[in-house]
Structures are given as structure tokens and as C-alpha cells.
């Protein structure tokens, strides 16, 4: 590889410095997201071409510092250390020079070429902050490029400087901080390391000594891996550290940070002239309302409501327009598959339709997701998110969660109708590993959209008297599950997970750009499609196999064929005297059946007298003989044939239904449902319910669809509600309650499970997120059903009692204190 022509530029900077704007401006559309190995931090990659040279760009996560305490800082640091970029562009907020320099010094200490990019100059100018660029360059010994990347100002200059600096071969002569009284300590460490040439060659000696003096764990690890006498050496460093602390009564890391701030202060004083008086900033004015004791929470509820309304309600309305497109896709796929026979449905046909249905169920959510992702981007860019965390942290931290768990929970469905996929995906921002995992694990217990059809079905049948209350119960009960469960998880399985301090910046509010928001919405929808759809497709295949096979035995097929022959014989006997007999032989009969099916469904979708006439004309033109049979009018013979044919059609439908029932019954999934019945009986689930629940593993919408198939209609027109109520005599409101509660605690759908894997970073957590809700759900269902039965409660009574219990438990859990993280460190 020719290093002259291959250049790697790294963007580093503090959060809210406009780093991603710079990244977008540099790379345009040629960027993609990857992952740093071993952590769930996104790696933004891109490239551009400048004067014929291809330049790779990596946008490091925004960090305030480069310690080894957070994964973002670790990956940023390791990337710079090990990938040796041609140049690091340190993007900073021009209006906040002093604090940004704190990070700059750490970059300079790594001995890599650094360019300072003073971004958001427009803001600084508006605030009347004047920066002496030349002086700053001289003081720091690096190039300084002022830009306003939002409008593209300074982009050309930045590109030129990047090209110039990354082409240079001369060593960097950047300013270095004099750590004063600590310098002798550095020298002692440096002498010891430089005798071990291996280390000194790999990374900057200065950087390593400073990090060792800071007590940095990763620096110590580097020593352990490379130094022949690591233990003695680290012991030596520890001794130096404690010597320093004893002598100057200051922790070494404190001294180092202090010096950085002091020098930053000196430099910014020397280079900045601010003509503005200190007046309350606009952001602070806004926060007087946004974070107000009463208005703040009220506004938060309003924002959440708007988020739901725009994405779920309005997004759902849009699906009314997009669904027909997906339905067309299905019909198109249908035309490609082999035609069905009298009772023989080709496997290929059922497979293709099943597959398309599974994918369509997911694609149907795209409008909702698009709006949702756009709104999240809006919240993120505007700066409202930290305020949300600020308001909610007290409540959530009591349950082991984090202020920043608010948005994921809202998305997941804090009331009815969220979606766990974006919910889990938005957990990324939670800095505290323990809270983040807890949030990821509880999101699937919230009420996503797909759980709602089953609730509505059951409430309409069994809680018709108390519909509103039942709906309120089911909407809020999930929150009463989620909070105690989060608490229990953080006290048990997540006990030893890494935590992070809450301390966070409340950045100034910021006007988001339409381009930024749309761009991110598109990007996230695309990510969703790529990562999720492929897997759902794969699993659809598996469930199909489980539902179809082993299928009907030859014996049973012979039986059904006999039934078929019987039906056909009856039909032909009835029409033997008519002229139609000859016209319906062999293939012709099947064609008539398909013609009839098509006519029926076309009629269903047609409204109005004129449209109906047009439809009739069309079908008559297609086949006048068939039309005569399906619409006999006053013709006596035709009427007779029509009656016989209707009977035949009904007989066929009956046979197909029986076969389908038997196939599910005999299928692997059916067997599983029956096998589980002894366990689930205590929860009130029979095997049919089990099968429905099992099939919902792929996507929860399937539960109602499968129930629909299992309680298939004899006559069309009867709603599933009535069929279920009739088919399940002995199924009471208590059964329904247990089933609904199980649905609340139902394991995540596949799309969610994949997101869990992506966000939690391991298959182990994905499996855990699937198994624990199942166990919990079964336990709750058994408690409610068996308990309710023992106490002879109606479903509604059991509901009230259970709600009271859950509420009590939640409140008690809130009072149970997590042991303070810092207790042991308190002096």
C-alpha cells in the first residue's frame, strides 16, 4: 500500500462541538457505520477525495477527555494510539475555547499531528467573542482553522491544511504543558521505561509517563503486556504516586487536570477578547421553563404525547396508504406461485405467501419508524434530551435505571403502543453500563403496538363490561412490571456491571437542521431494514417449517382424497342432466373454483352500483360460461348448477380447514403446544393458546393471526371474537386476564432480540432477554389464574387485586435503596 496516497484523518472533539457536522461536510454521503471491536460504540467511517488523493475519515465518539473510564474514551484513545492517523482534527466549539483545550492538550501529548478546527465561529461571533488565531497557533504550535461548517465556511481551508499537514514528514513541534513540580516524577518514570526500548518505540513516551502518573488502568495494562519486569515497575510507579500525594497533599491526577485547566485558561485569556457582558444565556432562560418544578414535567408529558401522536397515530394513518402497496406486492408474489388444486395447496405457494406476509408485517412499520426516528433526531439535536434526563433521573435512578432511560422507555411504549426496536436502539446514549443493560432488558416488557390486537380481542370478549378500566389496567401494568424488574435485575444479575457517574453537560439549545434530521431518519430506517429484516426473513422460514411439517400422513391424505371424490361425485351427479357437465371436466372445474374465489374477493373490495356493474362486465367477458354459473340470474339450469357448485365450494373449504387444523395439530409447533399444556394449564392456557403464543415468537402480530387460523370460521362473516367465545367454552375472563398478562411479559420479538444483541453486545444477553420474561410471564399467569381460581375471583376482581399488588411492590421497591456506589470511597 502506498502510504503517500492513503491518508487517514481522525476527527476528535468534545460533545456538542459540531463534530458530526464537520464529518458530514467532509465526507458527504460516502460514510457508513461500523463497530469498534468488543464494545457497542459506533464507529463512523467515511472518505473524500481532495486533489486526487483519497482521504479516509474516522469520526471518533465525542468525549470530554481521554481517560480509560468510559468505552467511548477508551476506543478513541486506542484508535489514535494504534491506527496512527496521518492527522487528528480536533474539532472544537469556538465559543468554548478554554474547556475544549483541555482535550486538545491530551491529544498533543500523544505525539500525533493535530489540527485545531475552531468550529461554530458564527456562534462565537454572535456572542462577540474575538479569537486571535495567529496567537493561538503560536502558543499551541499547531495549525488553527476557523470554520462554520454548518454553512460550509472554511471547509476549503480545512481541506488544504489537512492535506498539507498529513503530507508533512517532519516531527510535530506542538506546545507541551509544563506540569511543574511533577516533572521530576515523570523523568524518573521515563528513565525506567526508555531502558525498555520496545515500549518507547510503539507509543509516545511522554504520554505514557503522564498516564502512568495519573494511575490510568490501560496504561498499566500496556506495561504489563510489554515490560519484562512489569510488577516491580508498576509498584515503583505506585510508590511515586503516593510520594507525590504525601508531599504535595494533592492527588496526582488532580494536579495533572489542574495544570491543563490552568494552561488552557492562560492561553484563552491571551487569545480571546470578549466584548460581551455576562448576561444570562438564552438557553438558561429557556431552561427556567423547561426544567421548572411544575412546568418541566408538564412539558415533558406534552413532548411524549406529541411523539406518540405524530409517530404512532399519524404514522399509522400513513400505513393506510402504504399497506395497499404491500398488498400489491403480495398479490404479485401470488401470481408467481403454482395454482392451488382442489385440496392440494402447493407447498411453494403457502411458503411464498407466508414469507411475504412475515416481511410485510415488518415493512408496514416503516412510516411509523421514519417519523419516530426523525423526531428522535430532532430531540437529540435540539438539546432537549439532557433536560429529559435531568427531570426524570430521580425517579428512574430509584429503580436502578438512569435519567437517560426516559426516551427508550417512551419509545418502547410507556403507555400503549410503542415499539421495542427503536426503544432498545436508543439505549445507546446511556453512559452507565448497568442502567443501560437494565433498560435494554426491560424495554420488551413495555406495551408495543403488536401486543395491542390481542388485548383488544380479549378485552372485547371477556371485559366488555369494563372496557375502559381493562384498557387502563393493561396500559399501565407494564410500567408496574418494568420498574421492579429493573430494580431486581440491577440488584442481582447486573450487580457487578460497570457504572458511570451521572455528571453531564447541559448543552445550549440548538436549532436542528432539516437535512440533519432527515438524514438520520433515513440512515436509521435503512439500518433497521438491513439488520432486522434479513433475520426476520430467516426466522419466518423456520417457523414455517415448524408449522407445516411433518404434515399429513399418507393415510390421512387418502382419507381426504376420498372425501374430495365424494364431494365431486355429488356435484357431478347433480349437474349430469345439464349442458354444463361437459364444460366442467378435468382442469375446467379447478379454473371455475379459482374464478369464483377471485370474483368473491373482487366483489368484497368493490363499492357502489356502477363499480359492481363494471366488475360484472369484466368477469363476464373473461368467461361467459363461468359467469353464468356464479351469477345464474333467472336461468333455471344455471341456478341448479350454481346451487350444486356452492355446496361443492363449501365442502372444499371445510376440507381445507380440517386439513390445516390437522396439519398444525400434527406439526412440531402443535406438538410443542401440547407438550407444554401440563405446565401452562395452571396458567389457564390450552394447547391452542400455546401454539398461538409460540407462533408469536417471530412477531407478536402472529398471535391473533394464528388464533384466527385455529378458530377458523365455518361461515364467513363471524368475527374472531364470537368464534373464540364459542369455540372455547369454559374459557373465562380469568383465563383471558392470565393470557393478557402473559402477553405483557412476552419475550421480545425477533427484531427486538436482534437489537438487544446489537446494543448489549452479546448473544448471552439476547438469550437472557428472551428467557427471563417467559419464566416471569408464566409465573405471573399461573399466580393470577390459579390464585384467582382458588379465591373464586372473576377476571375483573383478579385484575383489581393484581393491580394493587403490583403497585405496592413497585412503591416498596422504590424505597429499597441501591447501595451507593461511592459509600466505600467516602472518607
Amino acid at each position: 500500500m502506498n502510504t503517500q496516497n492513503k491518508r487517514l484523518v481522525v476527527l476528535a472533539g468534545q460533545p456538542n462541538s459540531g463534530k458530526s457536522t464537520v464529518f458530514n461536510a467532509l465526507t458527504g454521503a460516502s460514510q457508513h457505520v461500523a463497530n469498534y471491536p468488543g464494545v457497542t460504540v459506533d464507529k463512523m467511517l467515511g472518505w473524500y477525495r481532495h486533489n486526487g488523493t483519497r482521504v479516509e475519515v474516522v469520526d471518533l465518539p465525542g468525549t470530554y477527555s481521554l481517560t480509560s473510564y468510559s468505552p467511548e474514551e477508551r476506543v478513541s484513545r486506542d484508535f489514535i494510539l494504534h491506527e496512527k492517523p496521518s492527522v487528528v482534527v480536533n474539532v472544537m466549539d469556538a465559543a468554548n475555547l478554554k474547556r475544549c483545550l483541555y482535550l486538545t492538550f491530551q491529544l498533543l501529548e500523544m505525539d500525533i499531528p493535530v489540527i485545531l478546527n475552531l468550529n461554530m465561529m458564527d456562534v462565537a461571533e454572535r456572542r462577540k467573542i474575538e479569537i486571535d488565531i495567529n496567537r493561538l497557533e503560536k502558543k499551541l504550535g499547531v495549525h488553527v482553522v476557523p470554520t462554520t461548517m454548518k454553512s460550509g465556511r472554511g471547509k476549503k481551508e480545512l481541506l488544504d491544511v489537512i492535506a498539507a499537514v498529513s503530507g508533512e514528514r517532519s516531527p510535530v513541534k506542538a506546545a507541551r504543558i509544563d506540569y511543574g513540580k511533577m516533572e521530576p516524577f515523570f523523568r524518573e518514570i521515563a528513565e525506567r521505561i526508555s531502558s525498555e526500548a520496545i515500549l518507547a518505540k510503539k507509543i509516545s513516551l511522554r504520554w505514557l509517563t503522564i498516564k502512568l502518573m495519573e494511575g490510568d488502568a490501560e496504561a498499566q495494562r500496556l506495561i504489563r503486556e510489554n515490560h519484562p519486569e512489569a510488577d516491580t515497575f508498576i509498584w515503583f510507579v505506585e510508590k511515586l504516586r503516593s510520594d507525590f500525594e504525601v508531599r504535595y497533599d494533592e492527588m496526582p491526577e488532580m494536579h495533572i487536570a489542574n495544570r491543563r485547566y490552568q494552561v488552557a485558561d492562560e492561553i484563552s485569556r491571551a487569545c480571546i477578547r470578549s466584548r460581551a457582558g455576562l448576561k444570562a444565556s438564552l438557553s438558561d432562560q429557556i431552561d427556567r421553563f423547561v426544567c421548572h418544578r411544575f412546568l418541566g414535567p408538564l412539558l415533558l408529558v406534552g413532548v411524549i404525547w406529541l411523539l406518540y401522536y405524530l409517530s404512532i397515530v399519524q404514522g399509522y394513518n400513513i400505513t393506510n396508504y402504504t399497506w395497499p402497496l404491500l398488498a400489491k406486492l403480495r398479490s404479485f408474489a401470488e401470481t408467481l406461485t403454482p395454482k392451488p388444486g382442489f385440496i392440494e395447496i402447493p407447498l411453494m405457494r403457502s411458503f411464498v405467501l407466508w414469507f411475504v406476509d412475515s416481511i410485510n408485517a415488518l415493512l408496514n412499520y416503516i412510516p411509523i419508524f421514519f417519523i419516530l426516528f426523525g423526531l428522535i433526531a430532532l430531540l437529540e439535536d435540539s438539546g432537549y434530551m439532557p433536560r429529559m434526563a435531568f427531570i426524570m433521573d430521580r425517579l428512574f435512578s430509584r429503580f436502578g435505571l438512569h435519567g437517560q432511560s426516559t426516551l427508550p422507555m417512551v419509545l418502547g411504549g410507556i403507555y400503549v403502543g410503542g415499539c421495542a426496536v427503536p426503544g432498545v436502539m436508543s439505549c445507546k446514549g446511556i453512559p452507565d453500563e448497568r442502567s443501560r443493560l437494565a433498560t435494554i432488558l426491560i424495554i420488551p416488557l413495555l406495551n408495543c403496538l403488536a401486543k395491542v390486537p390481542l388485548y383488544v380481542l380479549l378485552i372485547n370478549i371477556y371485559f366488555a363490561m369494563h372496557k375502559a378500566w381493562a384498557m387502563f389496567f393493561i396500559s399501565t401494568i407494564s410500567l408496574l412490571f418494568v420498574l421492579p424488574v429493573a430494580k431486581i435485575l440491577t440488584l442481582t444479575v447486573l450487580k457487578n456491571k460497570e457504572t458511570a457517574p451521572f455528571v453531564m453537560e447541559m448543552p445550549p439549545y440548538h436549532m436542528p437542521t432539516l437535512r440533519g434530521i432527515l438524514g438520520r431518519a433515513v440512515e436509521r430506517v435503512w439500518l433497521f431494514l438491513r439488520k432486522i429484516t434479513t433475520i426476520v426473513a430467516a426466522v419466518a422460514v423456520v417457523i414455517f417449517v415448524l408449522l407445516q411439517f411433518p404434515g399429513l400422513s399418507d393415510e390421512r391424505m387418502i382419507h381426504y382424497n376420498g372425501e374430495k371424490e365424494k364431494a365431486l361425485k355429488t356435484f357431478f351427479t347433480k349437474i349430469k342432466d345439464t349442458s354444463y357437465l361437459d364444460q366442467l371436466q378435468g382442469e375446467k372445474l379447478i379454473s371455475l373454483i379459482l374464478y369464483w374465489d377471485e370474483y368473491k374477493s373482487a366483489k368484497m373490495g368493490t363499492k357502489g352500483r356502477e363499480a359492481m356493474t363494471a366488475l360484472n362486465v369484466e368477469f363476464e367477458a373473461r368467461d361467459p360460461v363461468f359467469f353464468k354459473i356464479v351469477q345464474p340470474g333467472k336461468d333455471k339450469t344455471a341456478k341448479k348448477v350454481n346451487r350444486a357448485f356452492m355446496n361443492l365450494s363449501k365442502a372444499r373449504k371445510g376440507l381445507l380447514r380440517q386439513m390445516r387444523m390437522e396439519r398444525i395439530d400434527k406439526s412440531f409447533l402443535g406438538k410443542m403446544g401440547k407438550w407444554l399444556e401440563p405446565v401452562t394449564r395452571a396458567a389457564g392456557f390450552n394447547w391452542r393458546v400455546n401454539v398461538a403464543l409460540l407462533s408469536a415468537l417471530a412477531a407478536k402480530e402472529s398471535s391473533v393471526a394464528t388464533l384466527g387460523a385455529l378458530y377458523e370460521q365455518e361461515e364467513s362473516g363471524e368475527a374472531l371474537e364470537q368464534r373464540m367465545a364459542r369455540g372455547e367454552t369454559g374459557f373465562t375472563s380469568l383465563h383471558a386476564l392470565a393470557l393478557m398478562l402473559f402477553m405483557v411479559l412476552y419475550p421480545p420479538c425477533l427484531a427486538t432480540a436482534i437489537s438487544v444483541k446489537l446494543q448489549a453486545g452479546s448473544i448471552k444477553w439476547m438469550l437472557f432477554s428472551m428467557i427471563y420474561p417467559m419464566v416471569l410471564g408464566l409465573a405471573v399467569a399461573i399466580l393470577v389464574y390459579s390464585g384467582g381460581k382458588a379465591l373464586d375471583l372473576t377476571g375483573f376482581q383478579a385484575m383489581s387485586v393484581f393491580y394493587g399488588l403490583a403497585l405496592t411492590l413497585t412503591v416498596l421497591m422504590g424505597f429499597l435503596k441501591n447501595k451507593s456506589e461511592y459509600e466505600k470511597e467516602r472518607r
Partner: protein, 74 residues
């Protein structure tokens, strides 16, 4: 005195960060360092966390974290 005892509106001088490791480093990295003036802006609606202003920017932190920031009135 420690920062968690300050009320909204109070101004004070940071004297010492009395904790090591993650929290100590995080406070430093967020610009909470000895010698700096600080003003408590507000508490969250449920009293915790609190928001402070340091040198023109705003940081929020929980009271249990603020306990380790020793301050003195100017």
C-alpha cells in the same frame, strides 16, 4: 462545606474534589476543578439532580456526587 448542601442561587468556590477514580476524574473532565467559581442554578423538579454553572457552561450532577465536591463561600 460540600456542594450538595448548596441551594439554588448560591455561589461558591471549589476547594477540593474529595474522590478518586471514575467520579473524581469525570468531575475534573467536566470542568469541576479546584479554584473555580461555581453557581448553583436549580434543582430538578424532584430535587435531584442539581444543575450548576461553571465558567459559562452548565453541568448537572446528582447530590450524592456533589457530596464529594468541597466548596467554600467566597
Amino acid at each position: 462545606m460540600t456542594l450538595d448542601q448548596m441551594r439554588p442561587g448560591n455561589e461558591c468556590l471549589i476547594k477540593k474534589i474529595a474522590i478518586r477514580n471514575k467520579l473524581g476524574q469525570r468531575l475534573l473532565d467536566m470542568g469541576v476543578y479546584p479554584g473555580l467559581r461555581l453557581k448553583v442554578i436549580r434543582n430538578a423538579p424532584l430535587e435531584d439532580p442539581m444543575e450548576v454553572e461553571l465558567d459559562g457552561y452548565f453541568v448537572s450532577l446528582r447530590h450524592e456526587e456533589a457530596r464529594f465536591v468541597e466548596v467554600e463561600l467566597p
